[in-house]
């Protein structure tokens, strides 16, 4: 039985796809057979972030409509062992994702995979609902910014009322992943702190990903940022994967690197 993880947020552009690619790669590196599914029908992008855009032949909707079987649609990652991608289709048909169809695909994947990561589209429409409905675990990706935090709270409400687990009287395991965190702006009182966001959303913190140049570099190259082991963001994602697997690690990258004596006196940055 695979564990189904949804990466969700409500708001767009907060780092869901980056997170899905990084966490999926991280779990695969730990030896778990992992598939990452793109639920953003019509706006496929996971393939680009994971660098397999030119190998897409069949997609998720083809499998649901039984125009192709799973093995034809699954793309095996070239860099990382145990890692597969199921791309979204570029069709504009919004009703392409049916609950029965999604369930059948997840059930089939469940037989052979350890982890299924569902990369949710933004919003609370059909695609986002389908991505979270079957989830056992939710990674709520949030930026330290008012609209993102509010939307995350809304998504938590949906997880607690409209998911399959909620309907069965069970709970979805919720995790907060704070992305694009900028410690120096937090210190200057210009950005919500980790503690502020934890206070408001009241769910356990899985990780804090610092705002990092490495993320854009990684997406430019189509390499999940977790593979950039030198980078702060890569290391922060690696920590998050370890925590998801139950390890207790201290959170890193929350403080501004210490300044020297003269810099402090003069208030320079």
């Amino acid at each position: 039985m695979a564990k189904i993880i949804v990466v969700t947020s409500g708001k767009g552009g907060v780092g869901k796809t980056t997170t899905s690619a990084a966490m999926g790669t991280g779990l695969a590196l730990q030896g778990f057979k992992t598939v990452v599914i793109d639920f953003d029908v019509g706006l496929r992008n996971l393939d680009l972030i994971m660098g397999c855009e030119r190998r897409v032949v069949y997609d998720f909707v083809n499998v649901i409509k039984q125009e192709a079987n799973l093995n034809q649609a699954l793309i095996k990652d070239k860099r990382t062992e145990n890692l597969y991608v199921l791309p979204a289709s570029q069709t504009r048909d919004k009703d392409a994702l049916t609950q029965e169809g999604v369930e059948a695909v997840l059930n089939e994947l469940s037989e052979t995979f350890d982890y299924i990561i569902c990369d949710s589209p933004a919003g609370i429409e059909k695609g986002a609902q389908m991505a979270l409905y079957f989830a056992d675990v939710a990674i709520v990706t949030t930026n330290p910014e008012v609209s993102s935090v509010r939307d995350s709270d809304r998504i938590l409400g949906i997880l607690q009322s409209k998911s399959r687990r909620a309907e069965r009287g069970e709970v979805v395991e919720e995790h907060l992943l704070l992305t694009r965190y900028n410690p120096s702006r937090v210190e200057a009182g210009e950005m919500l702190s980790v503690a502020d966001v934890e206070d408001i959303l009241a769910i356990p913190l899985l990780g804090v990903i610092p705002e990092s140049e490495a993320v854009l570099k990684a997406s430019n190259a189509g390499v999940p940022v977790i593979l950039d082991a030198e980078s702060d963001a890569g290391q922060a994602y690696d920590d998050a994967v370890q925590r998801l697997l139950g390890k207790e690690l201290e959170h890193r990258f929350l403080q501004v690197p210490k300044k020297g004596f003269f810099q402090r006196i003069l208030g320079g940055r």
């Binding site: 910014e145 008012v146 935090v149 509010r150 709270d153 809304r154 409400g157 009322s161 937090v186 200057a188 009182g189 210009e190 950005m191 919500l192 702190s193 502020d196 206070d199 408001i200 402090r264 006196i265 003069l266 208030g267 320079g268």
Partner: protein
């Protein structure tokens, strides 16, 4: 914080504090509504219509609230009657 910052008065909340305060208010408000049944707005409307038949009141003089505790729900209808 630099040495010179100690001389500035620091009474105004930082923008992050402002953000947190606004978020806490709106999130609490929206959470309160989260578990409301879908029929509540329409029921509120109909209650207002009934009262209007007898007393002339405005929409905002009636508030309908549903509070749920562990084992009972309380529907509170508050009408401010004109003098």
């Amino acid at each position: 914080m630099s040495f010179f910052d100690y001389f500035r008065s620091n009474k105004k909340p930082t923008s992050a504090e402002l953000a947190k305060e606004r978020l806490q208010i709106i999130v609490a408000h929206e959470r309160g509504k989260r578990n409301n049944p879908d029929y509540l707005p329409q029921m509120q409307q109909e209650i207002i219509e009934v009262i209007k038949k007898y007393v002339s009141i405005d929409q905002d003089q009636v508030s309908v609230q549903l509070d749920s505790n562990d084992d009972c729900s309380v529907l509170e209808v508050n009408v401010t009657l004109p003098d």
